[in-house]
């Protein structure tokens, strides 16, 4: 097992690519021989972040670019999910549980809450009109 490694993937903001993003991340993280549970947690957090890029960042337009960078050092995994979409006006509000700008019933405003409960750290950087970056960290058990 290498001590350090990193990769980057880029794909269009279509929901069909969520599975690709999940598998790519979990294959890379598998280099650290995690448990299935740890992989599920990480995939779930990544899914929430990617869905946000698609639905909110790009307002469901399928020609936006989503970039995911993933790196690890020892057993700490860092994942950054980036869009170049519309940005978040107030990040603190957005990260509050149940806060949502979606009008559809099924969306519950719990995406960031899920990310925070699956990962050890979640940081969001956003600039209106420039895009959003969600950086997440998770340490795996030995």
């Amino acid at each position: 097992m290498p001590k350090k490694n990193q990769m980057q993937i880029q794909f269009a903001s279509s929901s069909i690519n969520e599975g690709f993003a999940r598998v790519a991340i979990s294959s890379f993280v598998s280099q650290l021989d995690p448990t299935i549970e740890e992989l599920y947690d990480i995939k779930m957090a990544v899914s929430e972040a990617v869905t946000n890029c698609i639905i909110h960042g790009y307002s469901n337009k399928e020609d936006g670019l989503i970039t995911i960078r993933c790196a690890y050092e020892e057993r700490t995994v860092e994942i950054e999910v980036v869009d170049e979409g519309k940005g978040i006006p107030n990040v603190d509000d957005a990260m509050t549980a149940l806060y949502t700008t979606s009008l559809e019933e099924e969306r519950a405003g719990l995406g960031f809450t899920v990310m925070q409960s699956m990962m050890d750290e979640v940081e969001v950087f956003s600039q209106m009109g420039k895009g959003t970056s969600v950086k997440m960290k998770r340490s795996l058990a030995v």
Binding site: G19, T35, I36, L39
Partner: protein
């Protein structure tokens, strides 16, 4: 070469999506078994070793397991 190989291999025409679901089912069974045996969550390589698969194959299968309740459901879908 390609043509000959294509005729010789009998699983060649099976869709990947189906074979991944079968693997996902086996992963789930073995995972429960290993949890009982080891008293902890098994790692992905322990699962792969137990099924005589590559870690890659297990990773891919995990993505396809969503609503599969039984192997029968997979085989006769």
């Amino acid at each position: 070469v390609g043509e000959i190989k294509r005729f010789l291999r009998d699983d060649g025409m099976i869709k990947v999506s189906r074979s991944l679901k079968e693997t996902a089912y086996k992963v789930r069974i073995l995972k429960d078994e290993l949890i009982r045996e080891l008293n902890r969550e098994p790692t992905i390589s322990e699962i792969a070793a137990g099924l005589d698969l590559q870690v890659e194959e297990v990773v891919e299968a995990l993505e396809s397991n969503a609503e599969i309740e039984s192997l029968n459901a997979v085989i006769y879908q």
